[in-house]
């Protein structure tokens, strides 16, 4: 007789269809996406990081309209399907990006720069990781001793930028 332990992985059976497992996976993945959203919001509140990023990326207001539509429909204009994480990042880009225009109009230029930079950091994470990751790693290394908290945030964004596009776009 063979004994089983709690560490062993049971096998899927025909009586327990894969659909049930997929439902569980989707549920916990959605929770992780919420966690990611919280972390993204924290990033935008870090002024030094935003200044670094705002110098690295650029955009026009028209892009926000496109991204907003994509976040809503879950598809890009060229018909790539966005994953749940992709939609969240799109929504983050739109929200922070549009907010920056409002803040600028209200005369709060510094805060506008922060939200603008954060918005385009998120954009770079999705569409231009090859641009953003080396720059962030270098910046983090340079400020590591003097500003350890800022350096840690920069490393976090740099790590994030290395994530595969599969997380954002359905193949």
């Amino acid at each position: 007789m063979t004994e089983t332990t709690g560490q062993e992985i049971p096998q899927q059976t025909p009586e327990q269809p894969a659909q049930e497992k997929e439902t569980i996976i989707e549920k916990f993945r959605a929770e992780r996406l919420k966690l990611w959203k919280t972390m993204s919001l924290k990033m935008k509140e870090h002024p030094k990081m935003a200044r670094v990023l705002s110098a690295a990326v650029n955009a026009t207001a028209g892009a926000y309209i496109k991204l907003s539509a994509e976040a809503y429909t879950g598809k890009t204009i060229d018909q790539q399907q966005l994953t749940p994480l992709g939609r969240i990042v799109h929504a983050f880009i739109v929200t922070t990006g549009l907010a920056s225009y409002g803040l600028l109009a209200a005369g709060r230029g510094e805060l506008a720069a922060i939200t603008y930079g954060s918005s385009w950091a998120a954009y770079a994470l999705m569409y231009g990781p090859e641009l953003i990751s080396p720059a962030l790693q270098t910046a983090a290394d340079k400020m590591g001793d003097k500003h350890p908290k800022t350096a840690n945030v920069l490393r976090l964004v740099a790590k994030t930028s290395e994530m595969p596009k599969k997380l954002f776009f359905k193949s």
Partner: protein, 62 residues
């Protein structure tokens, strides 16, 4: 308590998305203790539920 590496390895073995979980594995050292705890809790619960869902059914007696 299982480590982040153990949890992720087991979830991947059970069919979770490797790319997404490798992303979280790489982020883990850089996030705050509260975020680390939230992530660990999420992964532990998912592993527990998946294990329950795939327990083989008791075979029918002939």
């Amino acid at each position: 308590m299982a480590t982040i590496d153990e949890l992720i390895d087991q979830l991947i073995a059970l069919g979770e998305d490797r790319d997404e979980l490798e992303f979280w594995r790489s982020l883990y050292p850089n996030i705050s203790p509260d975020e680390q705890q939230a992530l660990l809790s999420n992964l532990e619960k998912e592993l527990e539920e998946i294990r329950k869902s795939v327990v083989p059914a008791t075979p029918n007696k002939p």
